[in-house]
């Protein structure tokens, strides 16, 4: 009784199913590797074996996967074979326990057979996932999810999809008696089509991603110092969104929005963007237009939907002093609050023409100081947690190649004074911070204001920038 029962095993059927199983398993993994959607046609065959030849037969079929036609180490083969055999055996017993009958299902067996079959499918996926999970855990390939938060949603989607496929096993079994080998052919065709489509989709996604990134980078080639800014903001925004436990699809949208957030700067004349010195009222107004312009460019990308608002409002501030609309607090869309934090964080940690990059620690202190007035504290904390765990890649920009942009004279000035002026800037803001966080002072945060100007594109030296912004703020 420990291993059994052996009744109802038809040798011919068993051999045919085993061959089918090996073929399905060989082709499927050759077609697709590294896809997150864990659908495998072979498990449908394995479950058909449960119905047709019972638990022991199914185990034999499952074990035949170690004969798969693929380059694979012996240990891997053995593990795969054993894994499939165990899963099929367990599924077979669940099937029998709930009153399923072994053999080609006859007309009278339906629909009573569906319930035990579904139970068998569940048992099969459960044992399979458990075995793979244990293996991964022993190999140390996966970390246990941090903070007790585990994202069930993607996993559920994958499981549901694969269960949809495994229902096909019943179809194979049902028509096996009538048409024999033609049945699996019919069954496997749509499966391969689906997998092929998934593969194509993956390629397209990659192509899309690459194109988007390249075009964004092409737009920012104008300013040497902002190179890679859009990609880093995209990563930062995605890190925050993930940390907040958003579903993968939304994270992706926010990532794209982060990539595109400054695309409207192209509408700002280059001479304003690169101006050294005080901005006139008109110039500042031109800069304030860039989020709206960006929104106008990308609003036809329907896939972004609510993340579009993130592009439009990424310069809004919680206290309502941002632009373009001066939204206050939670009126600002969530995606905009995320992008705004990631944007400023990257600005602080990268070199600008008028100052050197800040360290990540300093930048975090600054962000925390501005949380509540400029940023949503929830987003700041999420970023801090994510950066603490995953780290942050700061750009390594040394000196721009001579005369890359701007007039040579301005370049010289910047180069000469940049390093010297850098230290005072940091210490200056740190000295101010207690006052700023203690009371809502008339001059709340030097650095964040400077960033506002910086972000607006005024690559002036520090003194001029502060002046420019003070002017802008007083209006």
């Amino acid at each position: 009784m420990l291993i059994g029962p052996y009744t109802g095993i038809d040798l011919c059927t068993l051999v045919l199913i085993a061959i089918l199983f090996v073929v399905a398993e060989s082709i499927s993994t050759a077609v697709l590797t590294g896809v997150k959607a864990g659908i495998s046609p072979s498990s449908a065959v394995s479950l058909a074996a449960v119905v047709l030849v019972g638990p022991v037969g199914a185990a034999v079929v499952g074990f035949s996967s170690c004969f798969v036609i693929r380059r694979q180490s012996l240990v891997k083969r053995a593990f795969n074979g054993a894994q499939f055999a165990l899963a099929a055996y367990a599924a077979g017993h669940v099937y029998l326990l709930l009153g399923g009958t072994v053999g080609e299902p006859a007309r009278g067996d339906f629909p009573a057979i569906v319930l035990p079959y579904v139970a068998a499918v569940l048992a099969h996926s459960l044992v399979n996932s458990a075995l793979v999970g244990v293996l991964m855990w022993t190999l140390g390939a996966v970390r246990p999810p941090s903070g007790g938060r585990f994202h069930w949603q993607p996993l559920m989607a994958v499981e549901l999809t694969s269960m949809g496929y495994q229902m096909l096993g019943l179809a194979i079994a049902a028509v096996w008696g009538g048409v024999g080998l033609v049945a699996p052919l019919l069954v496997l065709l749509p499966l391969f089509i689906a997998r092929w489509t998934f593969a194509q989709q993956l390629d397209e996604t990659r192509a899309h991603e690459a194109t988007l990134a390249t075009l964004c980078q092409a737009v920012e080639t104008k300013d040497y110092y902002t190179r890679g800014h859009c990609m880093r903001v995209a990563e930062g925004a995605a890190m925050i969104a993930r940390e907040l436990g958003m579903p993968a699809e939304r994270v992706q949208k926010i990532r794209y929005a982060g990539m595109l957030h400054d695309i409207g700067k192209l509408g700002v004349p280059t001479k304003v963007l690169q101006k050294t010195g005080k901005l006139t009222e008109d110039e500042y107004a031109a800069i304030k237009l860039h989020p709206t312009r960006g929104y106008e460019i990308v609003r036809e990308i329907s896939f972004l939907d609510e993340a579009l608002a993130g592009i439009r409002h990424h310069h809004e501030r919680l206290d309502g002093r941002g632009y373009p609309m001066g939204l206050v607090g939670m009126e600002i869309p969530e995606s905009a609050r995320i992008i705004s934090v990631a944007d400023v964080f990257d600005c602080l940690t990268s070199t600008r023409s008028y100052r050197k990059a800040w360290s990540v620690e300093d930048a975090i202190v600054e962000l925390r100081a501005c949380a509540g007035t400029q940023f949503d504290p929830r987003m700041v904390e999420a970023l801090v947690r994510a950066v603490a765990r995953e780290g942050w890649e700061t750009p390594d920009i040394a000196e721009p190649p001579g005369g890359c942009y701007g007039s040579a004279a301005a370049e010289e000035v910047t180069r000469a004074r940049g390093p010297k002026e850098e230290e005072p800037v940091v210490s200056d803001t740190s000295a101010e911070r207690p006052a700023a966080s203690g009371t809502p002072s008339p001059r709340p945060e030097g650095a964040a204001e400077e960033i506002a100007a910086d972000e607006a594109g005024a690559s002036a030296d520090t003194g001029a920038s502060a002046e420019a912004v003070t002017g802008g703020r007083d209006r």
């Binding site: 659908i39 006859a106 007309r107 339906f110 629909p111 569906v114 949809g164 496929y165 229902m167 096909l168 019943l170 179809a171 049902a174 028509v175 008696g177 009538g178 048409v179 024999g180 033609v182 049945a183 052919l185 019919l186 069954v187 065709l189 749509p190 499966l191 089509i193 689906a194 997998r195 489509t197 998934f198 194509q200 989709q201 397209e204 990659r206 192509a207 899309h208 690459a210 194109t211 988007l212 990134a213 390249t214 075009l215 092409a218 737009v219 080639t221 104008k222 695309i263 409207g264 192209l266 509408g267 004349p269 280059t270 312009r293 460019i297 990308v298 036809e300 990308i301 329907s302 896939f303």
Partner: protein
């Protein structure tokens, strides 16, 4: 219901299409209802509508055989129609509805005993299901592409009319190898006819060559056809054993294929939308005139259809046309009104090369980059590389035409510009392309 759909189909111009497929140029003369620019489409829609209506009336008059089975399949078709998807190239498909319809046409028995529904009843049930499924779509203003709906009904009718009489004659009652082979052959035949119909409609819509359209359609319909056809046959065979309960179980896997199709279509659409949107950065940056990239892309599409480019090439050409000026982003100052045709040849070549370098960065659009790189070469080509690719020659003509005509060129100016391009056909512009441009313009 059917009459309404039919009359609606005969003259409505379908949903508004974005992008160049919406028509080479967006000027449409108002036409009287009875005069359509696409008579073949009107014939197909009208004939299918009339046929479906006749089948419905006849079946209603003589009574439904096995009404519960009919109702079950009707509901599956309606649900599938409700979940229809649009694939790349504005192809509307409803895999579940089609598979359900085909399996109803091929159904031999349902557990208990053989079924004797007629081909007319199949058509009636399917048409009813399709109409039911489309109602919510129409209610929210997302009307279907009538020709695609007509094709779905037509393909089912084809299978049913061929198969139902055979069931009686050959006395088929359960799953057997003969029945399976017969079903598979019929489904393949219906698929071929359907693809051909689609190709005829496509050739009529885009004004391209039929041979090219047939190849495009066969390629595009292959994946959906295989999934729908094999599922339809499988459901029909399996239902003989499992009865009606099985219908729901066996439609589930097709749902997964549908999800795959839909995701793929979404990614493709997003990709195209992204490139379309980002092609406007040069306009916002003041490098080129408003709408220039899009107009060039529309013109190039029209010319390419006229010259018989395949679908994949059309897509690459569209990308290249949209991004043909992207090299200007690397310029410090915009050139006057962005009209590259007026810039010096050296400057033009530099812009093309800068743009090509940007596009090549992506690592996935090498053909597009090549097309953009060679867009300003004269007819004989530069250096040793020979004649530039057709895509480049098309973009050269379309770009020059749009630069010279501008946004609001009237008919007179268009003619003048066309003449000017014609004069340069011995050295600069490809005469075939200029002729195609003339044809496209004459249709506006």
């Amino acid at each position: 219901m059917m009459t309404q759909r039919q009359s609606e189909g005969a003259h409505s111009s379908g949903p508004v299409l974005s992008g160049p497929e919406g028509g080479a140029l967006s000027h449409h003369r108002p036409r009287p209802i009875w005069r359509t620019s696409r008579p073949l489409r009107a014939v197909l829609v009208g004939a299918t509508g009339a046929g479906a209506l006749a089948a419905l009336v006849w079946t209603a008059a003589t009574g439904f055989v096995e009404p519960y089975v009919a109702l079950a399949f009707c509901l599956v078709v309606a649900a599938g129609e409700l979940a229809r998807i649009t694939l790349p190239g504005h192809r509307e498909v409803a895999p579940i509805a089609s598979a359900g319809a085909i399996s109803y046409a091929l159904l031999l028995s349902l557990g208990a005993g053989p079924l004797h529904h007629s081909a007319l009843q199949v058509v009636a049930v399917v048409a009813l299901g399709v109409a039911l499924g489309e109602l919510p779509h129409i209610a929210v203003g997302r009307g279907p592409r009538v020709e695609d709906v007509a094709r779905r009904v037509f393909a089912t009718a084809l299978v049913a009319v061929a198969f139902r009489p055979l069931v009686e004659r050959l006395d088929l009652s359960g799953p057997s190898v003969t029945a399976t082979l017969l079903m598979a052959t019929l489904v393949m035949f219906a698929w071929a006819v359907d693809s051909l119909t689609a190709a005829v409609l496509r050739a009529e819509r885009l004004r391209t060559r039929l041979a090219v359209a047939v190849r495009d359609e066969l390629r595009a319909q292959f994946a959906t056809g295989v999934a729908i056809g094999s599922s339809g046959v499988l459901i029909a065979l399996a239902c003989t054993v499992t009865g009606l309960a099985g219908l729901l179980v066996f439609i589930a896997p097709l749902l997964v294929s549908q999800v795959a199709f839909r995701r793929h279509a979404e990614v493709r659409r997003t990709y195209l939308e992204t490139v379309r949107a980002l092609s406007r950065v040069t306009e916002v940056g003041g490098y080129v005139e408003n709408g220039h990239s899009r107009r060039v892309s529309h013109l190039a599409h029209g010319i390419a259809c006229e010259l018989g480019l395949a679908e994949a090439e059309l897509l690459e050409l569209e990308y290249a046309a949209l991004m043909h000026d992207i090299g200007q982003l690397s310029l410090r100052e915009p050139i006057a009104a962005g009209a590259t045709v007026l810039a010096s040849p050296r400057e033009q070549r530099r812009i093309a090369e800068l743009g090509s370098a940007i596009i090549r960065e992506t690592g996935v659009l090498d053909n597009v980059a090549e097309t953009v790189r060679r867009q300003c070469e004269p007819l004989a080509g530069d250096g040793d590389e020979g004649v530039p690719p057709l895509g480049s020659r098309i973009i050269k003509v379309a770009n020059a035409f749009d630069d010279l005509v501008g946004e609001n060129g009237d008919a007179e100016r268009r003619t003048a510009v066309l003449e000017r391009l014609r004069m340069d056909t011995d050295s600069e512009y490809d005469p075939r392309v200029v002729d195609a441009l003339a044809t496209v313009l004459s249709r506006v």
